[in-house]
Symmetry: C2
Subunit: 228 residues, 2 copies
């Protein structure tokens, strides 16, 4: 799916995304769109994040997209955060109308950070703005160093790139510098963090990034964030 092929569809989507973004802004909700190929570890990382953010004073909720099954919503629900599964029935990406429909009934004034775990796909979700505040693109060391060059549209739109499964870097002969260079070829300014859920301390950099960016975007008011 390319932007040029779908410019009519996308401009309609983009108008809806702008309305969705205005709604998120009005409720002071920092929204993270989490994208990667299948099995890069979105749900595993999000499990760590949902456990950590309440200890940093932030309330959370999550939407999770898959072509089929509610496996991921079940995994994430253990966090205690409100979680809803979006089953796309074969569609390759989430669209803003699905986000709008699935946040109905949630009071986003009570949600500091909303996570949207997209369908596992490094191509199509790149073209669809969901009204998010930030896009986090994940790449597993098992996928190889050149994926940013092969999927430039996705990596060029990343606000943060997370390299996952670094515990497998050695058996995968993963070349860290080559991967970082590939990211910066398509996105010169994106920060890059390296994580493994097998070493929970490594996920701290992602959590710090979310806490810092969300408090910059929506500064807390003494002593707790004043919600819109």
């Amino acid at each position: 799916m390319t932007v040029s092929m779908n410019s009519g569809i996308l401009s309609r989507h983009d108008r809806k995304a702008a309305l969705m973004r205005a709604h998120f802004e009005a409720t002071n909700t920092f929204v993270v769109n989490l994208v990667s190929g299948p099995g890069a570890g979105k749900t595993a990382l999000l499990t760590e994040i949902l456990a950590a953010l309440p200890r940093r004073g932030l309330t959370t909720a999550a939407l999770v997209g898959d072509c089929a099954t509610d496996n991921d919503a079940q995994r994430l629900a253990a966090s205690g955060a409100p979680v809803r599964q979006i089953v796309t029935e074969g569609m390759c990406h989430l669209e803003v109308t699905m986000i709008d429909a699935h946040v109905q009934g949630w009071d986003l004034n009570d949600t500091d950070v909303l996570f949207i775990e997209n369908v596992g796909n490094l191509v199509c979700p790149a073209a669809f703005d969901l009204g998010e505040t930030a896009r986090v693109v994940m790449l597993s060391v098992t996928e190889g160093e050149d994926k940013p060059l092969k999927y430039p549209q996705m990596f060029s739109t990343a606000d943060l790139v997370v390299i996952t499964k670094i515990d497998l870097a050695e058996p995968c002969d993963f070349d860290r510098e080559s991967a970082r260079a590939a990211v910066h070829t398509v996105n010169p300014t994106a920060p890059i963090v390296e994580t493994s859920v097998k070493y929970p301390s490594t996920t701290g950099a992602v959590i710090d990034w979310i806490v810092d960016r969300s408090s910059e975007r929506f500064p807390p008011v003494d002593p707790r964030k004043e919600k819109g």
Copy 2:
């Protein structure tokens, strides 16, 4: 991308795919459409296959699709087989018109097995018939056991499922039986083979499958295959 959303597009594609298939049949060319998520190891496996098939008396060629770069064509060209890169410029799957355009000038009468390495994507390529004789769907142990349930359209259309990177099964806590059960839930009859290019002997089962299926489909005529 779903079949229902694109039924008009797909029926036009399907007519073109039927013509392409008829052309492949007329030239006695066995065509394999190789699909997986990003980084499951399509190019690595295909490198082994292209090296092995000439020793089994079969001539080969390959088309390889990516959103950007010709990295994979460069890797595969080392085999000596004719190889062409299809750069989709952001499109999420290959279509039969691209296949038709990129086999121009090749005499398929001289090609026993043509491989088409699709764009790394477990969703969209499922819906697009390329006129292939067989579809091989690959799943890396690093992606997790439940991917066949999450991407049922893709796995349900597989003639062969190849589980890759089995050298990483232990560090990934990969549950072999759970993965096999997931495949058979959506595709009860698909044969499953487990491979790792780190253990070259394991790729023999894939190579045997291709040799056996292609000789069943286009039986060789004494002493060499008589080409259409």
